[in-house]
């Protein structure tokens, strides 16, 4: 199974849901199938799930989708533990497990050996934890996750993405991203996107903060 085929399926299913996306080829492919100000590109490996939890706590009536990689998840297993404790109903955590540190040159991750992400999420208290190996199963599992209370955790076992062929080359997409957006612009656009979805003001300016009274 190719990650981009899962992503195409997901992009057609999630509607306008805000997405938290780990950087690298994962982001490049997602940005190519679902270009949107509703995508936040995360630079800190592993932090997607925690940022997603913060968003889910802040917007409890809206599904928040996290698009993650195996190397990133392994770097912040604590994030799974806290999601297991908090039980955010609206969080959908998708992990594309290609069993390598893709952006760092292709060294195997622990999922290439003995670690299993579905089991780790279950052990963290995320009861709706699934592993899928084909696009149909991915689509069906995601459909259920979008329709029911979570938290949901879906590990899609995928092949490492080929560098050529029908896939967007990371250089091209990254080049476009660099022109289109940096982190600060991503932040503002993302907040404005959420404001549009919510139909209310979210961004606070310094003038909104009152001086302390004592």
């Amino acid at each position: 199974m190719q990650r981009i085929d899962c992503m195409r399926r997901a992009a057609a299913m999630i509607g306008d849901s805000p997405c938290v996306v780990t950087m690298g080829q994962n982001w490049a492919e997602w940005d190519s199938v679902r270009p949107s100000d509703g995508n936040l590109q995360v630079r800190t490996l592993g932090l997607c799930s925690s940022i997603g939890l913060g968003l889910a706590l802040g917007l409890q009536d809206r599904k928040i989708v996290v698009l993650d990689g195996d190397g990133a998840v392994l770097m912040n297993l604590n994030g799974l533990v806290t999601i297991g404790s908090e039980q955010p109903k609206n969080l959908v955590h998708l992990v594309f497990d290609n069993k390598i540190y893709e952006a760092s040159g292709g060294t195997p991750t622990a999922t290439a050996l003995n670690a299993n992400l579905r089991d780790l999420a279950l052990g963290a208290g995320i009861r709706s934890s699934h592993e899928v190996g084909d696009v149909e199963a991915f689509g069906e599992t995601l459909k259920d996750a979008l329709a029911t209370d979570g938290p949901h955790f879906i590990t899609a076992i995928v092949e490492p993405s080929p560098e050529q062929g029908g896939h967007p080359r990371i250089d091209d997409v990254e080049k476009r991203n660099r022109i289109r957006i940096d982190e600060v612009e991503n932040r503002y656009r993302f907040i404005r996107y959420l404001e549009g979805l919510e139909g209310r003001h979210l961004l606070e300016y310094p003038a909104d903060i009152q001086p302390p009274t004592s």
Partner: protein, 164 residues
Amino acid sequence: MPNSDSAASILAALKGAGVNIIASLPDRGLLQVVEALMQDNEIRHVPLSREEEGIGICTGAYLTGKRCAIVMQNGGLLNSCNALATTAIQFEIPMLLLVLYSGALGDKAFPMLGQFTEPVLDGLGIPYHQLERIEDAPAVIGGALIQTYNVKKPVAVLLHKGML
């Protein structure tokens, strides 16, 4: 033992500043603060298992319009450095870091943490303020909240053990 009156004052200062989501990880010196958070009904409290994830939670919640803080020991500050650098600072996210200052002058616990706390904050370019007297809590915490929104990056308040 830490003092529950001090914990109540810190919580009141945070509420006075309008903070509505707080992530925490306990240290013995923070016990009363964390217990007060657990019993509070107004502030959304998120207990952590490692401090760095709290930087992510505060970031996500900030993007939805929440005012956020994290309560941790200075060892947790060191655990959080990558997330502070590549998320909170890079994306210009305001948040309060309430950091128990272990290993401060005269404190035998974690002397190395005491030695590294301010240099690490200086290295990250994070403004910080000492809170040594509990009566200063509203001014320091309220002022730090104004500063974090003005400078658009995290601001730390160093909580001294003697005060707690």
